[in-house]
Symmetry: C2
Subunit: 490 residues, 2 copies
Amino acid sequence: MSKGVTLKSEDYSRWYTDVITKAELADYGPVKGTMVIRPYGFGIWENIKEAFDKRFKETGHVNAYFPLFIPKSFLSKEAEHVEGFAKECAVVTHSRLRATSDGKGVEVDPSSKLEEEIIVRPTSETVIWAMYRKWINSYRDLPLLINQWANVVRWEMRTRLFLRTSEFLWQEGHTAHASEKEAREEALKMLEVYREVLEDVLAVPVLTGLKSESEKFAGAVDTYCIEAMMGDKKALQAGTSHYLGQNFAKAFDVKFQNENNKEEFVYATSWGVSTRLVGALIMAHGDDKGLRLPPKVAPIQVVIIPIVRRDEDGKKLMDYINPLLVKLKEQNVRVHIDDRKKISPGFKFNEWEMKGVPIRIEVGPRDMENNQVFTARRDTSEKFGLDIESASQNIVQLLEEIQNNLFQQAQQFREENTFTVDNYDDFKAKIKHGGFVRCGWDGTEETENAVKSETKATIRTIPFDENPKDLKCIYSSKQAKHEVVFAKSY
Amino acid sequence: MSKGVTLKSEDYSRWYTDVITKAELADYGPVKGTMVIRPYGFGIWENIKEAFDKRFKETGHVNAYFPLFIPKSFLSKEAEHVEGFAKECAVVTHSRLRATSDGKGVEVDPSSKLEEEIIVRPTSETVIWAMYRKWINSYRDLPLLINQWANVVRWEMRTRLFLRTSEFLWQEGHTAHASEKEAREEALKMLEVYREVLEDVLAVPVLTGLKSESEKFAGAVDTYCIEAMMGDKKALQAGTSHYLGQNFAKAFDVKFQNENNKEEFVYATSWGVSTRLVGALIMAHGDDKGLRLPPKVAPIQVVIIPIVRRDEDGKKLMDYINPLLVKLKEQNVRVHIDDRKKISPGFKFNEWEMKGVPIRIEVGPRDMENNQVFTARRDTSEKFGLDIESASQNIVQLLEEIQNNLFQQAQQFREENTFTVDNYDDFKAKIKHGGFVRCGWDGTEETENAVKSETKATIRTIPFDENPKDLKCIYSSKQAKHEVVFAKSY
C-alpha cells in the first residue's frame, strides 16, 4: 500500500479506479474489455452470491447450468424486430488452431470454419427457452423455477471495472408459469428479494418501481427495478425483474396443457443481478481512505494487528489474543490476524482501511497490561479500548451497529440529494448538481427524450409509491400520468 | 418416469445415457457438443463443489476469477513445442451481429473482424500466469494460492454427457511458491484433498500415484492423479495435480526476489477436477434401477411419500409425518415430501429409485395405526418398518451406513477386478475382460505404446505403494523400473 487514493471530490472516476486497484479488488485482463476479479474482490462477490442464492432456494428456486454457446439463428427469434438489429457480442467462427508453417506460432486453421456461427451468450433466454420447449408439456411441469449463475459476454470497448466489462458474472432467473397472475407475483417476489439483499446485506438503500417503456427490457411486458444512489449522486440500476408475458413462449413455441386439457402458451419472468453490485458497494460506501465494507459482505470483518516492538513480545501477545480469536470464530466472525513481519503497523493500518475491513483491533504490550484491546471502527473512524474479557460480545454487537450505520449514512445521503420539483426550471437547476429528482411526467416518450437530450437525465423508475394525482408534467405541463424519479445514471 | 433403463449388462453405454436422461441429470444443448446440466444434476454438482471448496479454503486457498478470453498469441507461449501443435478450441473472430438486408435474420458484421483472434479458454494457465507476472515481485507475495471455479471449452465432436462435452465446469488451482520443496508439497497436499473427497464424500475408492511421462500433462514436471474404477471395469481419471516446476514461470517471465535479494523463477502447481465427477458417481454406484447416490452428495437424502387412498386421509397423514419432518430438518437431513396428486405411489417409487435417493419412506393409514413408517434403502433394496418416535435418529444413522456401504461395495468391486500378473499372456487374458492389472514395467515408452496398441490398455498410474524391486516387465521381461496399473480407460 504505497499511497492513498485520488480524492473523491477531486475526480470521482479516478477515485473509483484507484480504490479497486489499491484494495486489490480487480485488475484488467490481457484482452481489451476483460477483467480479472482478484481474491479480495471475489471474496466480496462470494458473500453477495451466497446471500442471494440462499434466498432463491428459500423461495423454491433451483440452480441449473445452460451452455455458453448459442446458435446464431436463435438470436433472430429473440429480437422482436430484427430490422435495425445490431448486437455487440463475441462470435465464434472456427474450432481449431494449428502451428504456423515456421513452427513458431499458432494460427486459426481455415478448414475448421463452422457451418453456422456460434454466439457467446450475452444472456441465456434463447437457449433456456429452447430447452423449456422440451421439458414443459403439462401444467404438472409448472411452475419451473430455475436460476443460473454464469458468465456472459457483451462486447464493450469502454471498460469500467465491475460496471462495464465485456465479460461479467451474474445470475439469471428464468421461470415459467401456468398463469399471468402467478408470473406477475413471481417477478415482484424476486424484486423484493433483491431489495432485501441490497438493503439488509449490502446496506445500500434502493428505490423500487417500474421502468418506463423506453427504459424497459425489449422482450418484457413490464420491467421492475431497484435503483440506488452512488456517492457522486448518480443512479445505478442494481437489478431488474421482468414480467415477460407470453413473449418468449411464443417465440420458442412453449405450450402446456392446462388443467382443462387445453393448450396454452406459458407465462414467464426473468430477473438478474451481476458483479456490478461490487461496483455499487464501492461507490455507495467508499470514502477518501478507500473501501468501507458492510460487515455482512466483508471477507474479513475484524483484523487483529499485534504491535510487536521486541521479538520476545510476539509469543506473549499471541497468547493474550488467542482466547479472543477463538471466541470470535465460535461466533462465526470472519477474523484475520495480520502478523506479517518487516511491515510496519502504520502500513498495515492503511492497507486494511483501504480494504474497508469494518473493525481493526490493535494489541500492543501496553494494551496487555491494561487488559484491553484497542479498537478502530472503519465507518466512523472512532477509536476506543475494549476490555479483553468482554471484547468478543462487544465486537459482534459493533458489527451489527456498523452494518446499520452504513445503511443509515447511505440513506441520509440519498435523502439529502433527493428533490421534488414542479417546474422545469427547478428541475434543471437541481439535476445539474446530480441527485434524484421526483416530479410529474405526462407519460410520453417525447418528453423523456427531450429531457434526456437537454439534461442527460433519464427516468430511473416509476416508484411504487408514486402519487401522480395532482401533479403536472414538468416538461409539457400537461396532467401527469406518473410521478417519476429522474437522475443521471451509470 | 415411463420405463426403466437399458440393463447395464446389456449395453453399458446406453445404460449410462438412459440413467442421465431418466433421472433428469442433464440434456443435450442446441449447439453440437454442448450439455445442459438440469437442476437435479446441478444439485449433485453443487454438493460436490461445496465439499471441495470447503477443503480448499481450509488449506489456505482463495478463489478468484480470470477472463474467459485469451489472446491467441498466449497459446504459443504455453505449447512447449509449437511444431505439430493442433488444438481443438473455440475461436472468436468477430464482435458484432447485424440484421440481414431482408430484415428477417441476423448475420455476422464483417466490419467487426478482430485484429487478433481470441480463444475461449481451454484452461487458464496462460492468462493466470500473465497476471501473476504483474502481482508477484518478492518472496513476500508468495505463496500465492488461488483457485478458480469456471467453465472451459475444448472442441469435442463425440459428445458423452458429463464425460466429454465441448464446454464443462471445473475448478483449476494455480499456485506459485518460493521453493521446489513447497510446490511439490502443495501438489501432493491437493491430491490428498482430492482422494479424501472422492472416497469420503463421493464414496468412490481411488488409486493415488504418478502418471508416466507419456500420460502426464505436457507442461508439468510431474503429474499426480487419482484413478477410479467404473462399473464396466474401465478406469476413469478423476482428478490430477501437477508439479509444474518453473516451466510456466519461465514462459511468462515470472520472477521473484528471494530472501537473499536474488531473482529467481517461481515454482508452480496446478490441479483440477470437473463435472466429469458426476459421470464417475453414476458409473461407480448406478444399477439397473438407475442412480444410487451417496447421502453426502444427494440433493435429496430422504423422500417421504404419503400413501393417500382417500382424500380425508391426507391431512391426518401430514399431521402424523410432520414431527418427523421437523426433526429430520433439525438434523440437517435434506428431506423432501412427494405429495403430488394424481400420480400413483408405484410411479413415485420408481422415479425416486431412478434418481438414487438413499432412503424412501412410505406412510399410509396402516403405518399410522402401527406407529411406524415404512422405510426402503436404495443401496441394498432392504425394506423395513421404523418406529415413528425414534425414526429420525435411525435415519441419520442409516444415511451414514449407506454412505459407507456404497464405498465398501465399490471397493470390493475394484478388488475383485484388480489382478496381479507377471507375464504378458496372463496380462492379455485378464485385460481382455477389463479391470485393473498390476505388473512390472521397464519404464520405456516403447513398451507402453506396444501394450496400448495390442490391448488398448494404458498405464493409469504408478501407484505410490509400488514395489518394483523383484519384478520383471511383463512385455520386455527386463528388470521392472516401476510397478504400474494398466487398464482400459475413459
